[in-house]
Amino acid sequence: MTALLSVRDLSVGFGDGESVVKDVNFDVEAGQTLALVGESGSGKTISCRAVLRILPRAAQIRSGTMTFGTGQNRLDLATLGERRMRDIRGNRISMIFQEPMRSLSPLHKIGNQVSEVLWLHRGASESEARKEVLKQFERVGFPDPARAYDSYPFEMSGGMRQRAMIAMAMVAKPDLLIADEPTTALDVTTQAQVLGLIKDLQQETGMALILVTHDLGVVANMAEQVVVMHKGRVMEAGSAQLILTEPAHPYTRQLFEAAPEIPDEDAVGIPMPDEDLILEMKGVSKTYTMRAGRGWKADKLIHACRGIDLKLARGKTLAVVGESGSGKTTAARIALGAELPDPGGEVLFRATSQDDPILVHQMTRAERTLFQRKAQMVFQDPYSSLSPRMRIQDALTEPLEIHRIGTPAEQRDKAAEMLKRVGLNADMLKRYPHAFSGGQRQRLSIARAMMLDPTLIICDEPTSALDVSVQEQILTLLEDLQDSLNLSYFFISHDLAVVARIADEVAVMRQGLVVEQAPPETLFYNPRHPYTKALIAAQPEPDINRPIDLKLVALGAGSPDSWDDAFRFSDSVIPSLVEMEPGHKVRCHV
């Protein structure tokens, strides 16, 4: 049987530079799923875009063939004329992109953008296309297809937009779907649902799928064939079964080792000690008022945080986990004093064990200066958190200058020392941020945060923008720093596997509430709350025999109304956090 698409000796390069994709071969058979796996810069995205010939303008296909089609009717996509290529795009091969937020035009209705495929390729009239699209919308899980048809993208959540993208890609019933990191920008629970949807649709229509991803867990859940790429070359190719159980190539093995996993051995974690707390949040709530657009409507209240009590002991790591909108970032901003909590809540900070606690939101000027030196933040996106116009040296010494610490020479020495501490060289001080990779930049942000010798560091998803192997290195660095300097981390993440590795205590948040709180070992082995269970179940595991349990995900990730009676909460009735066993608290009615 010949493959639906077979790519042979494909090379792609930019301008006169070296090829970024070198002699790549792969086959996709009808109805099958091929996963292209690799880290950023591996050429996986360029390879799959080359198939549709939607490369950046400076890139050109240098050699190779891409034969597509069945039976006698086979075309070489590498040499096909542009006009005939347009008949293929969106019609026989379609594509889903990574960022559903930006991949749809903000100014056109969803229905219009999806129907367009049918206008283009089927010559369908407006009403015919509408009928077809509404059917497709229903299929991809829009609760109200007619309403979705007339909505604009900005009126939908990320998951819904990705469903709209899928509908757009599927509506012409293509033979091949290319999905470029379709779920990377989504929450785990949404990711699980979207992956499940793609799989269902594939079974229904018998189309082939090329899935580009960096996540071996996603591969294990979706793919039959796997191609592992690194620096533009294929490292290893074969059946998913084989590669996931016995990776042959050292690079593949390296990827496996770097991927953090959720442990599930029977263990009871040690609860966070109750004395020597560096940070304590007591009854912290935050309510935002969304002004109603029209005068006669009442303003809408948004409860970002509701009655949060958290304790962080010195030298420990407290992780807050939840999907976007769960209130975890608001909690961190309040802890850092960047945001005022509603009256009644307070945040206490003790710089050293001997000090009296400072009330973070009622500080004197002297206390504020001290607090700013002792509490620092590391941000999510290392690309935008360093000024592109400042040399590393200036960025690092700036905190010292602001607090008037040391002479310029001492400041420079300190910067050099910090660079060494985070695993970079002192001779990089004169460079600008653009000369560094993502992982190096995150090291720089950590160095910047460390310059004032803080005792508390708030990490806002510090690794979610990084590749797995780099993520591994950054987590190791954070652990080393904690061990040698007795740092305390307030760690925000949506990734349970990362949290499992670094945290001493985990708080799971949903809709502004902490729904479950325990040491990671306890939490992962014995989760009680349906939402925690859903989060754990949604985490794709790189094990082909443990597929995602979509039912469990749907159950817990749905609205609180769908939970068991014991866990249900509404705006007015909120069960309290109950200690089920020592150090394991669950929000439920007893």
């Binding site: 347009r86 795009r89 019609n91 992109f97 035009s105 390729h121 900005f154 009126e155 939908m156 757009m168």
Partner: protein, 342 residues
Amino acid sequence: MIMLRYAVYRFFTMLLTLVVVSVMIFVIINLPPGDYLSNQIAELQASGQSAGVAKAEFLRKEYALDRPMWQQYLIWMGFFPGPHGFEGLLQGNYGWSFEFDRPVAEIVGDTLWLTVVVNLAAILFVYAVALPLGVMAAAKSRTWVDYTTAFVGYLGLATPNFLLALILFYYGHRYFNLPIGGLMDPVYEGQPMSWDKMKSILVHLIVPTFVIGTSGASAMMQRLRANMLDELGKPYVETAIAKGMAPSRMLTKYPLRVAFNPFVADIGNLLPSMVSGSVLVSVVLGLQTIGPTLLTALKTQDQFLSAFILMFVALLTLIGTMISDILLVMLDPRIRYEGREA
């Protein structure tokens, strides 16, 4: 429904702004010490002509210049009865020009709508030229198309308008037999509108439109090109290509729609800059627009005349911004549905 409500709301805010602007104009005009009449009185007294002084004093009373400033303002606007009852802008009485010794209405007369015509023509020209060129320059960026349009654009920006005017007049007349100067053949001046008069105006408009519009067009072209280039890098453009759209249709449907917003928002700014920017051109070309009159009025502290012209320009500007705001709301659902229940 949303649109209509917004338009009504926007209209009332415009009226409010206009009142505020009128106060500012009146205050600023009265800031320099003295007014046309007191200057004249001083001059007459210096030369000992007492008869003239009496007339000037009479005029001062007649136009309420002897009253406190806030009263003068209210009388000028027509909110407050003057020596002859309510007689201000609101009642259609534009005041008296001391310099020309004629009613303001008579002096500005035709120039009002001619100004509007010239500037509208120039704006249409700006859009008609900038739109296709800007899109083309962006779509073919870093090719000869881009470089040529950029070169022509910078040339347009850099050439002084009056110079361009003179050159165009010379060659326009020599090769195309275009008329020189003015906005219509002198025979039609003061005549009621007729088919021939209109034709004459249209022919006379060609050169001024070109001269006034060139720099605006090249500036706008560059802006549109930059906007388009930003948009072309966005993922939704890729989505559209992956759908199988032809480039031309894709360009006009997606990135242009988004890049068009700042373009529309510019309408409001374009009007005043053209009116004030075209003064020099109007002088050189002998156009009967309001620009040259404004210049004279400001120089001689002819307060009612200059205040009226400034009010007129302000009105044009405010109408321009109102139009662009309403168009923006029509074009961009993100503005229209802000706060719509999800």
